[in-house]
C-alpha cells in the first residue's frame, strides 16, 4: 500500500485540539495547543524534557483523569465530538484510543491472557485464539512467542514485552494508538522492529508517538510537532511551537527555536 502525501486522506482529521490548556492543580503545564492529528498517519511529538508532550498525549485518551488535580481547558475533539463533554464515558474513550507506555508494563499473566484481557473486558464476540494470533502477528511478535503463549508475559525480553504491550493495545481494535517514548528502554534492534511495526500499523491505525530521538521521528513520522517551554509563574509552561510534515520541520522549519532544536543548538 502506497500512501501519497497529496491524497484526500491527508485532510482527514481524527483528533483536533482547539486552544487546549492543561493544568496540574494551579500549575498550567501546557498552554493553548492547536493541533490536528490526521487519520492513518504517524505524528511525532518532540521537544525538550518537561515541555508537556506526555501531558498532551495523555489528554487524548483521558488517562490524565487518573492524575488527581489534572484539568483540561479548551476543546479536544475526536471525530468532531468533544472528548471532555459531560456525557462522554472516559472508559469508552480509552477503548477507542489505546496507549503504550514508556516502560513495558505487561500484566503478570500469560502472554495469551495479556492479549485476551482487553478483548474480554470489551466482550469481544469472535474467536479469541484468532484474535490473539492476529494481534501478535501485527505486533510482529508471533514468531517469538507462538510456542510459549502460556508463559508469563514478564518472562519475555524488554523488547518483546513492549511489542506484547503493543499487541495488547491493538487487540482492543482502537482507532488511535498513543505511544509515549515506546523505545526508550529498548536496544537498537528492538527499536528498529518497533519502528518497522509502526509503518505497518499506520495502515490500520492512527499513531501518535512521543520521542526524544529525532532520527526516530524522521524515520517513522509523517508529521512532527515541536513543543517548547517558557518560564511562567509556578514553573515552566509548555506550548506547541509548530507542527509540519516531518521533512519540512527538520529541513525548513518556520520558527527559529525549532531550527535550533533540530540542529542540536538547544538545551
Amino acid at each position: 500500500m502506497v500512501y501519497d502525501s497529496a491524497t484526500a486522506v491527508e485532510t482527514d482529521t481524527i483528533i483536533r485540539t482547539e486552544n487546549t490548556s492543561i493544568y496540574y492543580g494551579d500549575f498550567k503545564a501546557v498552554s493553548g495547543v492547536n493541533l490536528d492529528i490526521y487519520r492513518n498517519k504517524v505524528t511525532a511529538f518532540i521537544g525538550p524534557s518537561g515541555c508537556g508532550k506526555s501531558t498532551v498525549l495523555r489528554c487524548f485518551n483521558r488517562t490524565n483523569d487518573l492524575i488527581p488535580g489534572c484539568r483540561v481547558e479548551g476543546r479536544v475533539t475526536f471525530h468532531g465530538e468533544d472528548l471532555y463533554s459531560k456525557d462522554i464515558d472516559p472508559v469508552q474513550v480509552r477503548r477507542r484510543i489505546g496507549m503504550v507506555f514508556q516502560k513495558p508494563n505487561p500484566f503478570p499473566k500469560s502472554v495469551y491472557d495479556n492479549i485476551a484481557y482487553g478483548a474480554r473486558i470489551n466482550r469481544y464476540p469472535g474467536n479469541m485464539d484468532e484474535l490473539v494470533e492476529r494481534s501478535l502477528r501485527r505486533a510482529s511478535l508471533w514468531d517469538d512467542v507462538k510456542d510459549k503463549l502460556q508463559a508469563s508475559g514478564l518472562s519475555l525480553s524488554g523488547g518483546q514485552q513492549q511489542r506484547l504491550c503493543i499487541a495488547r493495545a491493538i487487540a482492543v481494535e482502537p482507532e488511535v494508538v498513543l505511544m509515549d517514548e515506546p523505545c526508550s528502554a529498548l536496544d537498537p534492534i528492538s527499536t528498529l522492529k518497533i519502528e518497522e511495526l509502526m509503518n505497518d500499523l499506520k495502515q490500520l491505525y492512527t499513531i501518535i508517538i512521543v520521542t526524544h530521538n529525532m532520527q526516530q521521528a524522521t524515520r517513522v513520522a509523517d508529521y512532527t510537532a515541536f513543543y517548547n517551554a517558557q518560564e511562567a509563574k509556578g514553573g515552566k509552561m509548555g506550548y506547541l511551537v509548530e507542527v509540519l510534515p516531518t521533512d519540512e520541520l527538520f529541513n525548513n522549519p518556520k520558527e527559529q527555536s525549532t531550527k535550533d532544536y533540530v540542529t542540536g543548538r538547544f538545551g
Binding site: 487518573l66 480509552r94 507506555f101 503478570p108 499473566k109 482487553g118 473486558i121 470489551n122
Partner: protein, 321 residues
C-alpha cells in the same frame, strides 16, 4: 611540611595493614554468632516437638490413629476420641475465614484505592491495627457479656428458619461454634487487611495504568489485574489468619461452650483442640495429660501442614508473577 606528609603516609599504611585483623575477626565472629542463634532456634523447636512426642507417646501407642476418629471423651473410664475437637477446630476456623476473607480483602481494596483522602485511609488502618492489639482474653470477655446476649435472637431466628439444614440444627444457646467463628473473624481480619493492603499498595502503578488504558473500568482493573497480581500476598495473609484461628485458645475456651460431643450444628456448643487443652489440663490425671499431649501434637501437625501448603501456594503464584 615534608615530615607531616611522611607521617600521614605512615598512618595510611598502618590503616591498611591493621584493617585486616580486628574487623575481620568481628565479621567472622558475627557470622558464628548468628549461626549459633539460628541453630538454637531450630534446636529449640525440635526439642519441644520431641518432648511433646515423648510425653504423648504412651497415649499414641494406646489409642493409635483411632483417637482421631473416635468421638467419646470420658476421663473417668479413660476413653478418649478427638474427632469433635478436630471438627470444631477446622469448622470454626473455616467459617471465620468465610467471613473475614471477603470483608478483609474488600477493606484492603478500599484502603488501597483513592476513594477517600490518604490521611483518612491511614487513620482507618491504624484503627484496624488496634483491633489486632486487643488481648484475646479481653475479646473473650466482650464475647461473653456483650456479643453473645446481642446475638441470641439472631441465632434463634437462624435456627427456626434454617433448622432443617444440619449446620443450623439443634437448640441455640449462645455459646457455640458460630459465636467462636464470629469473634475469630474479628481477630483475624486485621491480619488479612494489613498484609493484603500492603501487597496491593506495592503493585507497580503501571499495572493500573495499563489496564485503564485498555478501557477497563476501575472494578475490572481491581478484580482482573490488581487482585490477581497481588494474589500471593493475599493468600499468604489468609493462610496466616487460618493458622491463627486454629491455634487461638483463650477466645475458644471462653466462647465455644466446651461440649465434648460431636454435633454438626454451628449453633450447638462444641470445642476445639486448643479449648480442650486449655479447659482440661489443670485437673488432668496422668493418662489424661498424655492424651492432651497427643491432642497438642495433632494441632501442631495441622498448623504445620497449613503453613507448608501456604508456602507452596505462595511460591506457585510468585512463579507466575
Amino acid at each position: 611540611m615534608s615530615s607531616f606528609a611522611g607521617e600521614s603516609q605512615r598512618f595510611t599504611k598502618q590503616m591498611i595493614s591493621k584493617r585486616n585483623s580486628p574487623e575481620r575477626i568481628a565479621d567472622q565472629g558475627f557470622f558464628w554468632l548468628t549461626l549459633v542463634m539460628a541453630a538454637s532456634v531450630a534446636l529449640l523447636l525440635i526439642w519441644i516437638g520431641l518432648q511433646i512426642f515423648t510425653a504423648a507417646f504412651p497415649a499414641i501407642s494406646t489409642y493409635g490413629l483411632g483417637f482421631l476418629t473416635s468421638t467419646t471423651w470420658n476421663p473417668v473410664s479413660n476413653v478418649y476420641g478427638l474427632l469433635p475437637q478436630i471438627y470444631g477446630t477446622l469448622v470454626s476456623a473455616l467459617v471465620a475465614l468465610l467471613i473475614a476473607v471477603p470483608l478483609g480483602v474488600g477493606v484492603a481494596v478500599f484502603l488501597s484505592e483513592d476513594f477517600i483522602p490518604y490521611t483518612l485511609r491511614d487513620a482507618i488502618s491504624m484503627g484496624i491495627e488496634l483491633i489486632a492489639a486487643i488481648p484475646s482474653v479481653v475479646l473473650g470477655l466482650w464475647g461473653i457479656f456483650v456479643f453473645v446476649p446481642f446475638m441470641r435472637p439472631f441465632y434463634t431466628f437462624l435456627n427456626s428458619t434454617l433448622g432443617w439444614i444440619p449446620l443450623f440444627a439443634g437448640s441455640p444457646r449462645g455459646f457455640s461454634l458460630l459465636t467462636l467463628s464470629l469473634v475469630l473473624s474479628v481477630m483475624i481480619m486485621p491480619i488479612i487487611i494489613s498484609i493484603s493492603r500492603g501487597t496491593l499498595n506495592q503493585l507497580p502503578p503501571e499495572l493500573r495504568l495499563g489496564a485503564m488504558a485498555l478501557g477497563a473500568t476501575r472494578w475490572e482493573t481491581i478484580l482482573r489485574v490488581l487482585i490477581p497480581a497481588g494474589l500471593s500476598g493475599i493468600i499468604g495473609s489468609v493462610m496466616l489468619a487460618l493458622g491463627r484461628a486454629m491455634g487461638e485458645t483463650m477466645v475458644a475456651a471462653m466462647l465455644v461452650g466446651n461440649a465434648n460431643r460431636l454435633s454438626a450444628s454451628l449453633l450447638d456448643p462444641g470445642s476445639t483442640i486448643a479449648s480442650l487443652i486449655a479447659s482440661q489440663f489443670a485437673e488432668a490425671g496422668r493418662v489424661q495429660v498424655q492424651v492432651l499431649m497427643y491432642a497438642g501434637l495433632v494441632l501442631m501437625f495441622m498448623t504445620l501442614v497449613i503453613n507448608i501448603v501456604a508456602e507452596m501456594i505462595i511460591k506457585k503464584f510468585q512463579n507466575i508473577e
